[in-house]
């Protein structure tokens, strides 16, 4: 039995340390991982927990991220709790196996520290990796600070392993901005955290060798569609479970999470959609805007997948102009948040004016002032009652203004 780790009521942890403690408290049976900046400390911390006797399970240091996720699939199908961590190029290398994990309905938890994708190479934070995995059939939860990195990781196990869900979950935190930023985190004690997650309940474990199971069969035209539909349905219906888990977590900690987070949105004319640490920076910008008389608000999908279409449409119904801020290179389209939110609004015949901003690629600093400027631009659209700004603009880019219309 693993040693209990004595924790203070308030710890000063960076996002990586927060995620590693959540993995430790979940008493994961197998962690198979390969280190990559900026998620490396999660793997290192876990190795140290193991070396100090705070972890009972197996820690498999594989030779690549592809093998990390493959070993996770093998371990999860074998029948126990499994987790890993990665970022960026490692995530990209895993993508093939991400689809296999979700297709086999294996409740693996992956703590992702978001980082830009090469080329050119960059170790800092943007959402390129998260967007790469968005169709992979995983639930993607967003954490904006170390406390949330901890909380979301605990919730991730409980959501993934729910028998109605049985899907893998990533928790996402911004590289360096959250992963390497130490803040006050209020952890649960080990027993309380484990009790919240609960014992692992296996479904069709390969290691129940008296009742052998075949995982990963080939389905062709006559079966594949049905399986994908069934998998999609599980994802589309997972919000009920996510809400349940968040509610239970609130009872335990007082910390309330929602699939759609909002800030000062109730009376807003102008809203920004933004995910990750910039959501909190944007709160500062909204406060400044309101001081200047602009009725601004914020909205964020805490679960990027499943995407909360209806909830977002409902909350934006009185907003005149919306700017979606995407932290990923758009490459020939609008950013994902722009597309998803526009779709949500269009479905309901809502007529907010939509614009898109690309920010923070490769860790480029985005300040409250930058975001305030976006709010002011967006307000022009709200006031005009039609779009008078460009469709897509870039924030804090060196050189002449870059925008597309």
């Amino acid at each position: 039995m693993a040693e209990r780790y004595e924790l203070k009521q308030k710890e000063v942890w960076d996002g990586n340390m927060a995620a590693s403690h959540a993995l430790r408290q979940a008493q994961v049976d197998v962690v198979a991982a390969y280190p990559i900046t900026p998620s490396t400390p999660i793997v290192q911390n876990y190795a140290q927990f193991l070396a100090d006797g705070y972890v009972d399970g197996e820690f498999v240091m594989v030779e690549s991220e592809h093998s990390a996720m493959s070993a996770c699939v093998g371990a999860s199908a074998a029948g126990g709790r499994v987790a890993t961590a990665t970022s960026s190029q490692g995530y990209a290398l895993m993508v093939e196996v991400l689809y296999q994990a979700s297709g086999m309905r294996l409740p693996i938890v992956m703590t992702v520290v978001n980082r830009a994708l090469a080329s050119p190479l960059n170790i800092h934070g943007d959402h390129g990796d998260l967007y790469l995995g968005r169709d992979a059939g995983w639930i993607h939860l967003i954490a904006n600070n170390p406390q949330e990195a901890y909380d979301m990781t605990l919730c991730a196990f409980k959501i993934a392993e729910n028998e109605k869900v049985r899907l893998p979950v990533t928790t996402n935190q911004d590289g360096f901005l959250v992963s390497h930023t130490a803040q006050v985190v209020e952890p649960l004690d080990d027993d309380t955290a484990y009790k919240f997650i609960g014992d692992y309940k296996a479904m069709n474990p390969m290691l129940d060798t008296k009742n052998p199971q075949t995982y990963g069969a080939q389905t062709e035209e006559e079966w594949h569609f049905e399986f994908k539909a069934s998998q999609h349905k599980a994802l589309m219906e997972s919000p009920a479970v996510i809400d349940e888990v968040f509610a239970e977590f609130e009872k335990l900690t007082g910390r309330k999470y929602n699939r759609v987070e909002t800030y000062k949105l109730d009376d807003a004319d102008v809203a920004l959609v933004v995910m990750g640490s910039a959501y909190e920076t944007a709160m500062v910008a909204v406060d400044k805007a309101r001081e200047e008389g602009i009725k601004a608000g914020l909205i964020m999908p805490r679960s990027f997948r499943p995407f909360p279409y209806n909830e977002i449409a409902e909350k934006l119904k009185n907003v005149k102009a919306v700017a979606a801020l995407d932290r990923s290179a758009p490459m020939g389209a609008m950013g994902a948040l722009y597309n998803e939110v526009s779709g949500a609004l269009a479905a309901n015949g809502q007529s907010s004016i939509m614009t898109n901003y690309i920010y923070g690629l490769g860790g480029r600093d985005t300040t409250a002032q930058h975001i305030l400027e976006v709010i002011k631009e967006t307000e022009k659209n709200a006031k005009a009652g039609k779009r008078v700004t460009d469709l897509q603009g870039f924030i804090n880019l060196r050189g002449p203004k870059l925008s597309f219309n």
Partner: protein, 132 residues
């Protein structure tokens, strides 16, 4: 693309994750309907092996060389009380007619021979070559 009609089902009834159980009753080792033991590849054959029990010496070369696990074995005791396998037949649902068994059969007159699919086994045995 060869799911029998009775096994077709709809998206809301399929096993999450496409996981297939080998056994319907694991305790009694009753194979499930998903076990390919219950699938037929007989129509792959052009010719079939016919087994002549009278000539067989139970060397089991056919059993060990068969890629399709189609030799039916009965466990018997030899004179010294040790268990040994006795070949008692061929599972024609599983046999694809590759004829490897015939090739590896070592008896002077082979105890396995290929015959056209339409020839009845009793008839085949009648046609078996005799010793010179």
């Amino acid at each position: 693309m060869a799911t029998p009609k009775e096994m077709m089902t709809t998206w809301d009834k399929i096993q999450p994750g496409a996981v297939l159980p080998s056994f319907e009753d694991p305790e009694k080792k009753i194979r499930s309907k998903f076990n390919s033991y219950n699938y037929k590849v007989a129509d792959w054959r052009v010719e079939k092996p016919v087994f002549n029990r009278d000539l067989c010496i139970d060397c089991d070369f056919c059993w060990v060389s068969c890629p399709d696990s189609c030799f039916i074995v009965e466990e018997v005791e030899n004179k010294r009380g040790k268990k040994q396998a006795k070949i008692v037949g061929i599972n024609y649902n599983l046999c694809k007619g590759c004829a490897v068994c015939v090739e590896v059969c070592p008896t002077p007159i082979k105890s396995l021979l290929m015959f056209p699919e339409f020839v009845d086994n009793d008839e085949a045995l009648k046609q078996w070559p005799k010793k010179d």
